[in-house]
């Protein structure tokens, strides 16, 4: 028998053995592999016969043998796979109760997720996104926002200084100033970012947090529109059943100023430990942009008016997810992060 026909016959017998094979038996498969592809297997035997083939035929035969070897190797791999996955046939599976594959998805940080949600809500009503520097000068963080030096309002925000005149921004309002300096009204923008406060680290406070501030400046903008916009946000972020309350407050850069509370997410307004028995949770500060601020960026306060607001993302996420310790956001604990996958 010529080597060529031997090759064909080995292929034939292999195919027949393969057909007989029942699914899922690894030892039988290994036996078959050994019989054909082992060091003293049928394929190796054929290779050793190569020497006795006339030299002119050798390359041709070599090629055929290599082809056979890789074919058989692949077939064996296939049945091995089928055996281990239990998917030998479309009709039958080895054991349905076997666990599924381990799928390794990671997670986005809850701050990122919340930030995205907030951004999407405002983008849907035409707010653009702008970013500004975390280290900024006193002018953009304070003075331009109507917070002169030696004003008691400076006590509202404990500040980290880099130099006498440069600070780690205490809010992303600095970005609003940069935007207004570079753009003529109307302006409709939100400013997300990291901000800093010189406060001791505890369960409730951290030396930094994230904000999304917003700004709308146009002609004849009134407080009624600010209410409408922020109520829209509360409905979409917290749900239709949540009520928002606007409470007069004070910020140097807005006049009038307000703080917005929502009905407590835990007790619905009856009073509980989460809302300190008040029934309300404070979620953001807002107000009509102070004419002094508009003037400072070169907008005519007679023609233009607008509103601005700022909210802490950590706070929103704490309320939404019931997180009880702000430090969890920043220590990188994967047991925490994986919960937000």
């Amino acid at each position: 028998m010529s080597l060529a026909s031997k090759i064909d016959s080995v292929r034939d017998t292999f195919s027949k053995s393969l057909e007989k094979l029942s699914a899922g038996d690894a030892t039988v498969i290994e036996k078959l592999r050994h019989e054909y592809l082992g060091r003293k297997g049928k394929v190796a035997d054929l290779f050793s016969e190569l020497g006795s083939v006339p030299e002119s035929d050798r390359p041709e035969m070599g090629k055929l043998l290599n082809k056979l070897k890789s074919e058989l190797t692949r077939e064996i791999e296939k049945v091995k796979d089928a055996a281990s996955t239990g998917t030998a046939s479309p009709e039958k599976i080895a054991d349905l109760s076997l666990p599924g594959d381990e799928v390794t998805m990671g997670s986005l940080h809850p701050i990122t997720q919340t930030m995205r949600e907030v951004k999407q809500i405002f983008q849907a009503i035409g707010f653009s996104v702008a970013y500004g520097p975390e280290i900024d000068d006193d002018y953009h963080n304070f003075e331009a926002l109507n917070i002169p030096k030696h004003h008691p309002a400076r006590d509202m925000q404990d500040t980290f200084y880099i130099t006498d005149n440069d600070v780690l921004r205490t809010h992303t309002s600095n970005t609003q100033i940069h935007v207004m300096e570079n753009q003529e009204p109307p302006v409709r923008v939100i400013c997300p970012g990291r901000v800093y406060r010189n406060e001791a680290v505890s369960i409730r406070s951290y030396c930094l947090f994230h904000q999304v501030e917003g700004l709308y400046v146009a002609e004849n903008v009134s407080l009624a529109e600010m209410k409408g916009t922020l109520e829209y946000f509360c409905r979409h972020f917290f749900g239709e059943e949540v009520k928002a309350r606007f409470r007069p407050s004070f910020f140097p850069f807005t006049e009038p100023s307000a703080e917005v509370d929502i009905t407590c997410l835990m007790c619905g307004g009856d009073g509980c430990s989460m809302c300190k028995k008040t029934g309300w949770l404070e979620i953001l500060g807002c107000g009509m942009v102070d004419p002094a601020v508009l003037e400072m960026v070169g907008y005519d306060p007679v023609k233009w008016s607008g509103y601005a607001w700022g909210m802490g993302i950590e706070r929103l996420a704490i309320l939404k997810h019931g997180i009880d310790d702000i430090r969890l956001y920043f220590n990188g604990d994967v047991r925490f992060l994986r919960q937000f996958a």
Binding site: H150, E225, P248, F250, M288
Partner: protein, 672 residues
Amino acid sequence: MIVSLDWLKDFVSFKLAPQELADLLTGAGLESTVGENGDTLDIELTPNRPDCMSHLGVAREIALLTDAKLKQNDISLSESDQLVEDAVTIIIEDEKGSPRYSVRVVKGIKVGASPDWIVQRLEQCGIRSINSVVDISNYVLLELGHPLHTFDLGLVEGETIIVRSAKNNEKMVTLDGENRKLSSDHLLICDSKKPVGLAGIMGGENTEVTEKTTDVLIECAYFDPVTIRKGAKKLDLSSEASRRFERGADYDDVTAVLDRTAQLITQIAGGEICAGVVDCYPKVIKPKKVLLNRKRAESSIGVEFDDKFIRSTLDGLGIGHERKNDQYECIIPSFRPDLEREIDLCEELARVYGFDKIESKTTYVGDVTTILPDEERTVDELRDYFSGMGFNEVMTNSLLSEQDAQTFSELKPLPVANPLSREMSVMRPSLLPGLLGAVNYNLRRGENDLSLFEYGNVFQAEEKKWTESPQFSGVACGDRVSKGWRQDQHKNDFYLLKGVVCDLVQRFGFDGSFTELENSSVFSYGMRWETSSGWLADIGSVNSEILGYYDIGLPVVSINLNLELFNSTIEAVQFSKLPQFPRIDRDLSLSVPSSVTIGELESIIQENGTDLLRAKKLYDLYGGDQIESGMQGVTFSLSFRSDDRTLQDDEVDTIMEKIISETSSQVNAKLR
């Protein structure tokens, strides 16, 4: 600010329950909660409302909001024949710091304990009783909101008070026993020889009223807010008095406060009031006038205000007014320093009207195109990519210890001038310290299989300047997939990151290739993907010195991306035609000397594979028993395809032979 409900009733009648009252005030901007015993309110005051730092002020708000009448104290004094001018002389040297300085004198008193009603009311407000005269000055402070001070007149030398600014390094001992070192920013109250009080902040120990005091000098002044604030800030000393002066005290109620104090002192401690007041008030402060236009108020708030509402609101606020058509000429009372402009009055109208009653509107004008900065889209894409790849996003502190920052020696950290602690004294020069800190944190909690990434700004100090730039980095260690019943173990290692970089290159359409990183201060080994427009990504294994510093006992690999390059690639993907002709796959099993790298082998294969070789995959790599020593077994699967014809086996065979012979001659590979 804690107010007693009982005390408030001296000034206004109300029938509201404590919680209702708290809600009412909260709704008007005085955020109030009912105290534990139900007989007080705790009001969180905003810094613009010094007028409400008193029972009278809060009562004024209640009267305004409930349409009630504000009652005033009934003051009647009987004065002695001695004129106060004969008892004391006042000289203001610093008129800017002290626009008004006024005194009364009460002689022949007997200092003792206060009556219960004073003790109780002070206690409700959290103030301890000391003696009758000190208690009375605290009482009047809380009642009327204007700080005052009492001196033992017998200890005031020369019967003279001089108000002047302090000299640099001048010293005085304040009531709390502290020896204070002063500067020219401070305003001093002195007698003819020595300082006796730190104006607007705290009295001096040397003239304190004690049980021995018989004659008392009562001071009530109007000090410049900025002067007091600067002085208090410098000493880091904030007192009930300084908090009120720096926000702006009432410049007009000075004599009323003196009268009330003198009245209470004679009522409780006896004595005789010298006739008159020394009221040193060189330049009388004129009340501010502000025009309020109804139309403008309506347009800024978005509601219609009728004349009746405007007038009753202004009345309740103590604002004098005269109407001309839609214009109200308003005279601002001396206790409202915050009301300076029309918009401030608009706020008052809105506040009293009730923010909740304002009907919401949702109208917008202007362009509705939302603009997203490019970097936003890139970063979101990378965040989604890495989290999809199994990485957990972390956010770590931007403030680090100098030591942490210096672990990365080539980077110069930017210090914070007033850090919270040594652990947070510089701005992070890299995300790696935070990421490795997070690795350490998790390892200590038994979490060994980690892949983390972070996006954030990093900072570096430069000569008198700094840079702030965004960075995107990741770290990984342990297993990516642990061994399962049909899954092999996959490590979080260098090759994972190498795969990630190759995939990112493809997704974002970069050119370039890997080069080995040399002399890295962070990596013991690593590679960099270089593109024609600069480096794209660094990957490598964090060196053991750094791992040791972070007390990490297993290998950690790290990736750092150059975001600038990613930002520049936001272009639409250009479609390439789908293959028209079938491909031919071939396996190539070789044994090659172990000294030959896969990279070398791959480049020989690619070179000789011609442009028909479209893909190659290393699918097996083995050594050990299965192969002779010094050699390694490699199997590639190669796939060939032409764009313009169906490939023939012969054609591919010829290429395969070329590959085999070239690998054999160049690196001694043998066909297996």
